[in-house]
Symmetry: D2
Subunit: 122 residues, 4 copies
Amino acid sequence: MDVDKKYFNNISNRERAIFEGAITMGALFHQFDGTPVNTESVESLEKAMQDAMELQPCIEKVEVKINRKVLEDIANQFQYTSLNGNMLDVKVISVFREEKVIVRMKFIPELHYPLMYIEEFE
Amino acid sequence: MDVDKKYFNNISNRERAIFEGAITMGALFHQFDGTPVNTESVESLEKAMQDAMELQPCIEKVEVKINRKVLEDIANQFQYTSLNGNMLDVKVISVFREEKVIVRMKFIPELHYPLMYIEEFE
Amino acid sequence: MDVDKKYFNNISNRERAIFEGAITMGALFHQFDGTPVNTESVESLEKAMQDAMELQPCIEKVEVKINRKVLEDIANQFQYTSLNGNMLDVKVISVFREEKVIVRMKFIPELHYPLMYIEEFE
Amino acid sequence: MDVDKKYFNNISNRERAIFEGAITMGALFHQFDGTPVNTESVESLEKAMQDAMELQPCIEKVEVKINRKVLEDIANQFQYTSLNGNMLDVKVISVFREEKVIVRMKFIPELHYPLMYIEEFE
């Protein structure tokens, strides 16, 4: 079965790249939110998040940065914290045929929450 | 701050509806996958999944059906199972301005996995 | 196979009740942390958390209360928030044979985090 | 505040080690169940699971082995799969004062599910 032809002939290549990138961003957030993390464990968590999410359809690359400043601040009071969206800066690079999009999630100070949006088309 | 203007002026209204619907589908899968479920608890789980995911940006409605046949089959051997994607049939209806899309996830027998795709534009 | 005899003959009935109650408390926290929630959806989420976690071995009852005050406060600024441990007050009642324990999780102001402990033996 | 004295004076040191080990095992399962994984990404996922869960109270060491045979088998048909309990073999080593317990989760063929139990006291 030609999945692209049967299930995705109603959207453009650019829309497909957006669709797959957005799925992966939503998945990443909700899979890992709540994971215990501190300055010692942060690197292996970032790497696992990247490696896992790069497996999803059309995903070329995932870059995850967890805010070190937040982790250092909590280290004065707690041994670790639970990962939450406010600490995350993520790029998901999604490619379908000739279309490439960079989906971004980052904390926006004026909004007081982490926004997911499309940073760039290439 | 006008978020739409500042962060989403690079995509069409239709692309925005796709983007938000896809985020929510990825989020739903990875938030609830692994939840204990059986024929007794399935209704409250479906309702909570719907209510939670309808809160996300641009989401008008979410319909979740967990496969009763699978739950009845396992009931002969186990008291419950862990929710997984193969049991899920989900519609996420996402609306941005005049554009409405229905994102669907369902198990496709020929593929042996649950596919996420866009079922319809309205 | 007699599972209790083969795998649990090294612990007392009271230890078994503690063991199963503690597993369920850890499971509950990490399954649902991150779920979108507001004052509208909170009841169905509490119910689903209870129903799902009551399926686990030896669990007689689970009571989940999500802090309404926190949800009302965020409602002034946001449409919803992500469930986190600080909002949760949970009792897991675990029973093995004649032994019953109540495992509790609640936010402790002096500690600034939600503590899991054994509230009572019956 | 002396947390041990205030909240844990109703249980023995051995019970405390069991309690904390069991919480971490339940947490580990429900945090990571559903994560995309294949033979390429399995090592970084195991490492992140270990590093994250070793942060929890009283946890001295966590060993996670994800079944390579299962991952190799699915590789013929799929690019990746979702992590589930049947693939997991986990040891959580929990210590409180002089008491050490090894909590184990592994798939038991006769039961057709992954059992959590206490493997050893030291």
